[in-house]
């Protein structure tokens, strides 16, 4: 048996170019398959990490998934705002323990700006009920104070005391700046791995203040209210975009949801974050499965290539195998020789693929994080992926039986008789 393995390795080395190429195709296809699976899992994880302890998300009537997306993940736009009086009514409900109003629509260098209250820093939780912590500074207290997420601070190189200006709308570099009313960075939040990292937080009153001279939908030339005079105006918020609600008793969530959905003064929607996220996975799941199926097929193509290469080599190895048989190798030994070769190539291809993927994710993590806000954790292999790799190995075992069987059927005389 030992000799047989040594022979298999040497014989394979003799055909290193073709086998090497097959090895690469298997490595790449395994890397693709596991990569797709990994991105899918990490995307879902970072989504479900983003909110914890919030019982209901309340906003203008829209689809539950869309409400979740814009209120918690800051993806897409709100369909409508809700009135301040509505917020006060919901906050005053005896079943409600705490509320976080959020007001959206402005940005700073592509990072979303969220107007909120200091309740945000107290009640907002993520991951496994972890509260927000400050790596530097404190919550906003003045009108033009801003608290920035870790990613904003890192990418734009901001420190405490820096002056920043907000842009109207959600452009990259907004041409319509609120340049006349700069903000001061008073706090930087510790990294969370959630959309909070990419957010600039200001007070609700500040959102009112910067829009005082925007009543026409655009800045009116010649009409502007300097920052030092905005204090003279009534800065009570008139609208908010969404409300995160925490309840006294979580079992009362359906009744509160009913109350919000039937709220008489304006059409509202309340969603349970866990349920809305499940709905999101169901929508995204179709595309995910398609992607996984495609990468599965790529693996099949890779394995077919492997089988084809070994089968094709059978012809040139006719002599080699016949000589082996003539010195005493049984048909079974020849069968094992060829099967082992196929299995060995898939095994090393899988290992190389995983190493490739690990190296790739490790080097691309910062890029993915900053461009897509997606946290991918570099790791060599995880428990869930073992199943997928096991399937690949099982199929490759079956596939490598084919050339083994063909070689098994070759008779001794067949290889030793020269054919013209």
């Amino acid at each position: 048996m030992k000799y047989l393995l040594a022979l298999a390795v040497r014989s394979a080395w003799n055909r290193k170019l073709t086998l090497g190429l097959t090895l690469m195709s298997i490595a790449l296809s395994v890397a693709l398959l596991i990569g797709v699976e990994r991105v899918r899992q990490d995307a879902q994880d970072s989504f479900s990490q983003s909110v914890s302890g919030t019982d209901l998300v309340v906003g203008a009537r829209t689809s539950p998934v869309q409400l979740m997306l814009y209120a918690v993940f800051h993806i897409g736009d709100a369909t409508n705002n809700i009135h301040w009086q509505t917020y006060k009514d919901i906050a005053a409900n005896p079943a409600v323990a705490w509320t976080i109003p959020v007001s959206m629509g402005d940005s700073h260098h592509g990072f979303p700006v969220v107007g909120t209250t200091t309740d945000y820093f107290e009640h907002f939780h993520y991951g496994e009920s972890q509260p927000l912590t400050f790596s530097d500074g404190k919550p906003f207290s003045g009108l033009f104070d801003a608290v920035i997420g870790a990613e904003v601070a890192q990418q734009l190189g901001y420190h405490l005391g820096d002056r920043i200006t907000l842009s109207h709308g959600m452009g990259g570099i907004g041409l319509t700046e609120h340049a006349d009313k700069p903000f001061t960075v008073v706090g930087i939040l510790a990294r969370t791995g959630t959309p909070v990292d990419r957010t600039v937080h200001v007070s609700l009153e500040a959102i009112e203040a910067i829009h005082l001279d925007w009543q026409g939908g655009a800045k009116i030339p010649g009409f502007s209210i300097p920052a030092e005079y905005v204090g003279k105006f009534d800065l009570t918020p008139k609208e908010v975009t969404a409300i995160l609600v925490g309840l006294q008793s979580r079992a009362g969530v359906f009744r509160m949801q009913r109350y919000v959905n039937e709220y008489h003064a304006e059409p509202l929607l309340a969603v349970l974050p866990g349920v809305a996220l499940d709905q999101l996975w169901q929508v995204v799941g179709v595309a995910e499965r398609a992607l996984l199926a495609v990468s599965g097929m790529v693996v099949v193509v890779g394995l077919c290539g492997l089988v084809a290469v070994i089968l094709a080599s059978l012809n040139e190895r006719r002599r080699e195998l016949a000589i082996l048989r003539s010195v005493g190798a049984r048909p079974m030994d020849v069968f094992l020789l060829l099967s082992a070769e196929g299995l060995f190539i898939t095994l090393s291809g899988t290992l190389i693929g995983m190493a490739l993927l690990t190296a790739l994710t490790a080097s691309l993590v910062p890029l993915i994080q900053s461009h897509y806000g997606l946290t991918i954790i570099p790791r060599f292999i995880s428990y869930d992926e073992l199943g997928l790799l096991g399937i690949v190995m099982g199929v490759s075992l079956l596939a490598s039986l084919a050339p083994g069987y063909s070689a098994y059927k070759l008779s001794l005389s067949d290889g030793l008789t020269p054919r013209i």
Binding site: Q44, S249, A251, G252, L292, P403
Partner: protein
């Protein structure tokens, strides 16, 4: 001879391609067999083995014996009232409030029970549900008010649930705790630290 061998090999490869996507890449389907409003079948019968320490109960057992939300309007002859009658409107309102303040069955406090229901996830961390509500019927039915508080169990599974999503049907087993409505927690409620959460199978028992 040669062509026959090649034929077998190609056949084997094709078989792999055909078989593989269906077996290896079959993923759980999202289509549920339940329709909105469905309740789970439950036989009043004690199962054997490890489950026997838990008494199997129905959702009706969670409603106190003798509690009647219609008690307030026994004297009203409802069949004589028209829909537009203000007294009918008032009665409906009262009944809704009675349901809202539905009491819990005090005898159930500390009972070790086993009950089937549907999951509404509250806390999901890394695909694992660590906290959820168990409700008696499937789907959020928006035509009628939600289940009253004595038909909801707030569950903290001892081991986080994997591979479960909203409205999956499960059996939960554990010690039930009651919180009457006079506590600071607001309305009355049931809570459970579930020792066992297992997928619901209709042919069980």
């Amino acid at each position: 001879m040669q062509s026959k061998r090649a034929f077998y090999s190609i056949g084997l490869m094709l078989l792999l391609i055909v078989v593989q996507p269906t077996t290896a890449f079959s993923v759980p389907t999202i289509v549920s067999d339940y329709k909105v409003g469905d309740r789970l079948q439950q036989q009043q019968q004690h199962s054997s083995g490890a489950k026997s320490t838990f008494k199997q109960v129905t959702w009706d057992d969670l409603v106190p014996k003798g509690w009647d939300p219609m008690k307030g309007f026994k004297k009203l002859n409802l069949s004589k009232l028209k829909d537009s009658d203000p007294r009918a409107q008032e009665a409906l309102q009262q009944m809704r409030e009675a349901w809202n303040n539905a009491p819990v069955e005090p005898k159930m406090d500390g009972a070790r029970i086993r009950i089937p229901g549907f999951i509404v996830p509250l806390e999901v961390v890394r695909h694992q549900i660590t906290e959820f509500l168990l409700v008696p019927y499937f789907g959020g039915c928006i035509h009628v008010p939600p289940p009253p508080s004595n038909q909801i169990i707030h569950v903290f599974p001892m081991k986080p649930l994997t591979d479960m999503q909203s409205m999956d049907a499960v059996w939960i087993s554990g010690k039930l705790e009651t919180y009457p409505s006079d506590t600071s927690m607001g309305s009355a409620s049931y809570r459970m630290k579930a020792e066992v959460v297992e997928p619901y199978k209709p042919d069980e028992n």
